[in-house]
């Protein structure tokens, strides 16, 4: 009569109080409940309960329906008339798991200011032969490069008034995503320190925000608008000093590196090695998202009529940094026009015209395009 697997070992649900139920369990059910420990199987229980197999199974089903016991491998919200076969339940939970992971990936991307699709990834690192999915490599670089640009609340994706329950719901999946143990068997190369850094920062965020004193201190520092986020880590004056020192040094180094990369890019471009040049520019952009650089690169690509798609992506970067300027949008339009994407070009010109009403150059282009499209 029952389709319960007799090899299952039910365990009492610790989170449900039997007294809070509308229909209270019978003495027999209660007796069965008291025999369960998560180790004894249904089959064994039928033999020793003294109630007979049928009665025992009935009790277990009732207990399960009341939510008083967990049956491993079955859905936790059982319906009274049918319990789904466990294989189906598993595949279902697998599917929901993977979509959860995707959701998490999307949610994490949204927490950072950069544009993921047009992000200036370090191509060299991306190409490194390691046992990580390309999308995950991108995510790691995207997150790692921008760790200092957002605060702990943004990092965990929680509101400023989030309480402990919310914090742990945010932190636990992230800890699973970035804990080095998850990659124990994998070759991760230069991604290893990156993974560890991200995990440490996420953990610092959780631990700071879940400790009342540390959080108050952190909030106060945020309020004071203390220069950079990095200087907020740690709590002792000494460590704060060391962090900000590190940061100043880091800024100086970063500016130097930025300049060097831009120069290298220019040189490569001059020699006609455009692909290499773009790689250098992207690296520079990763260090410091600079709208001027992006515009300059996009314009040059347009002028020389090469790598127009890259030109569009650089122009988009510029637009993202400075959304109010019509220059970047107009440039996107021009690049599309050069490519022959007239609809897209028209759309962007019109968009640019909204920020710069009456611009003669844009107006002329729009009418020219409209004509071309009509004929």
């Amino acid at each position: 009569m029952s389709d319960l697997d007799e090899n299952l070992a039910p365990a009492p649900a610790s989170d449900v109080d039997p007294r809070s139920l509308k229909t209270s369990p019978t003495a027999e059910e209660y007796f069965i409940l008291s025999r369960l420990d998560g180790a004894i199987t249904i089959g064994q229980l039928c033999k020793i309960s003294g109630l007979g197999a049928e009665k025992t199974l009935q009790c277990i089903e009732n207990l399960h329906r009341h939510g008083l016991i967990h049956l491993p491998g079955t859905s936790e919200s059982p319906s009274a008339n049918s319990s789904p076969p466990s294989a189906a339940a598993n595949s279902e939970s697998d599917a929901s798991k993977s979509s959860n992971t995707d959701e998490l990936a999307d949610s994490i991307r949204d927490r950072f200011p950069g544009d993921f699709t047009n992000f200036a990834f370090d191509e060299e690192l991306l190409e490194q032969q390691v046992e990580l999915e390309i999308d995950f490599k991108r995510e790691l670089l995207f997150v790692h490069q921008q760790l200092d640009q957002i605060d702990y609340y943004q990092l965990l994706g929680v509101d400023r008034d989030a309480r402990r329950r919310r914090l742990r719901r945010a932190y636990f999946p992230m800890s699973k995503r970035y804990h080095p143990d998850r990659f124990y068997k994998k070759i991760t190369g230069d991604f290893e320190p990156i993974i560890q850094n991200i995990f440490e920062r996420v953990t610092a965020a959780y631990q700071t925000l879940s400790d009342r004193n540390k959080r108050a201190e952190y909030d106060a520092a945020l309020e004071r608008g203390r220069a950079s986020h990095a200087s907020l880590r740690g709590s002792t004056p000494a460590s704060r000093r060391s962090e900000s020192r590190e940061n100043i040094m880091g800024d100086r180094k970063r500016n130097m590196a930025f300049k060097v990369l831009v120069q290298r890019g220019d040189k490569a471009f001059d020699k006609g090695r455009v692909a290499l040049a773009l790689k250098e520019y992207r690296k520079a952009f990763g260090l410091r998202p600079d709208a001027e650089l992006a515009l300059r690169v996009a314009r040059r690509l347009l002028d020389e009529q090469v790598h127009l798609d890259d030109g569009i992506s650089f122009a988009r970067m510029a637009h993202k940094i400075d959304p109010d300027s019509p220059q970047a949008v107009a440039l996107i339009g021009a690049l599309y026009e050069e490519k022959g994407g007239l609809d897209d070009a028209l759309y962007h010109y019109e968009l640019a015209l909204e920020s710069a009403p009456g611009d003669p150059e844009l107006t002329a282009r729009i009418s020219r395009l409209k004509q071309a499209l009509h004929s």
């Binding site: 365990a11 610790s14 989170d15 420990d37 998560g38 967990h70 491993p72 936790e76 742990r168 719901r169 636990f172 999946p173 800890s175 699973k176 804990h179 080095p180 143990d181 998850r182 990659f183 124990y184 068997k185 994998k186 560890q196 995990f199 440490e200 953990t203 631990q207 400790d211 009342r212 740690g234 000494a238 460590s239 000093r241 060391s242 962090e243 020192r245 590190e246 040094m249």
Partner: protein, 603 residues
Amino acid sequence: MERIIGIDLGTTNSCVAVVEGGTPQVIPNKGGYKTTPSVVAITESGRRLVGQMAKRQAITNAEHTVYASKRLIGRTWDSSEVRHCIETCPYKIVQGPHDDARIKLRGKEYSLPEISSIILQEMKLIAEEFLGEAPDKAVVTVPAYFNDNQRTATKDAGRIAGLDIVRIINEPTTAALAYGYGRDLDSTVAIYDLGGGTFDISILDIFDGVFDVLSTAGDTFLGGEDFDARIIEHLAFEFAREHRIDLRNDEMALQRLRDAAEKAKIELSSMDETEISLPFIHSKDDGEALHLQTTLSREKFEELTIDLVQRTLKICEATLQESGLTVDDIDDVILVGGMTRMPRIQKEVKDYFGAAPSKQVHPDEAVALGAAIQGAALVEGSDDVLLLDVTPHNMGIMVHGGGFEVLIEANSTIPTSHSHIFTTVRDNQTSVKIVVLQGDNDQAEKNELLGEFVLSGLRRAPAGEVEIDVTFEISADGIVSVHATDLETGKEQSITVSATSGLTEEEIEDMIAENEDYLVELKHGEELEDQRARVRKAIREIEKLIDQDSDGDEIVAQLQQRATSAIAEARDYLESRDSDALQTAGDKLEKVLQSVRAAVHSA
């Protein structure tokens, strides 16, 4: 498939487990027991005995039988624990070459990692018999409160036994893994772990398969053996009152008292009183035999040990406070360790936490099961289980004036790192010595020394002008590394802090080789034994046949002669260790046996 086994290397008992097809299970030893006594003995013939075998012969070989060696591992010669053991243990403890303690058995000095390696080897063998192949990687558990030196010594023990210990994890944490594995939990639990030699308490937050250790604390000097000791003291005291003889001065009597105390303790978990009967416990100088015959009630036992129980609860309280929680926040209490079978402990824990402890996990097996779960999680890279472990002690450095500056606080989730800038304290100082310590005392010297190194070649400058950035890092597998950079010159220096297990690299390598030699020798010995048995059996059968048939038949007589000479020849080799000769002798005898059989049948 690569597999990582889980080993609970306990003070009194050890246990090995593995995850098979998603199910963690404990592997029973040859005797069918799921735990193996952590006892090692060396017999007169130099043979190593481990486990039940070693325990059984302890009375007659007390001086060369080592138990509770875990209490000594990673400790220095002048530590109080070593002092204490020198006074109370029947085996001989001597000073090692690196300020460590060694145990002298049959004239040979054994380091503590070597003793532990013999136990690990046995656990490895148990696993090998079950799996059909020798595992080479393991997750091994230690008490949460073990310091880095004790952990390193445990790791070295693994190396000597030919086991790569990929993780050392804390016992209460693994017990939590066993408790929460495969259950969709969202709760805060306390693990109360009272084992043979140590007490640990950990608070964990479990949610979505993540096991986040909030805080952990313990006492490495408090365990089941202390409960036994109270019974021994009590029995010895009563005996002394009656007979004016201190049984504790008599090795043999002490060993019997120890066994009786453990047995009584276990019985008192299920009975209200127990008989203790030790006939002929002592012979007086005049030859009169004295017997120890008494009963011990549960009540008396509780009275003798209540302070020990209360000590554990004090630690629980401190730990809860540390994690910023109250007893109301704890959803479930899990008891681990054989000692938690004591009804009084269950009652006190229940009273303290206000809820009956969970019976979800087996107190003797949970730790090994959890270790196996962690091993499998590492191999599979699965996202069902993630353990967020913590470092149990403060870590930091000695600062000017002998103070201890903490850089990584106790209960920090690992991996973790911390940077700190140091300046010179004297004018024209050209080098700094960085002393890395672990412990909870404000004074540097009262903490455990993890390592030290010197950063030299600094610019001559007034005090305070030169700055050195020092970064401390604890990786996910608990390895501590320190990285120092002179900010002016960019000169760098980094070390991996190798805690001192009391052994040098060279010694460890020698021990690995020695252990391998021993195993080869052992295998060879077993082979010889098999061959000898084969020879003896053939001899017996031939003799039986030629005895029965001794009429004057010529062929038979010839055969008899051939048989007799073959037997005589084989007997010469019986005592030798020449495997080839034994093999040849055996082959020859079997041929003779066949001829004899054929002759007998045709006759």
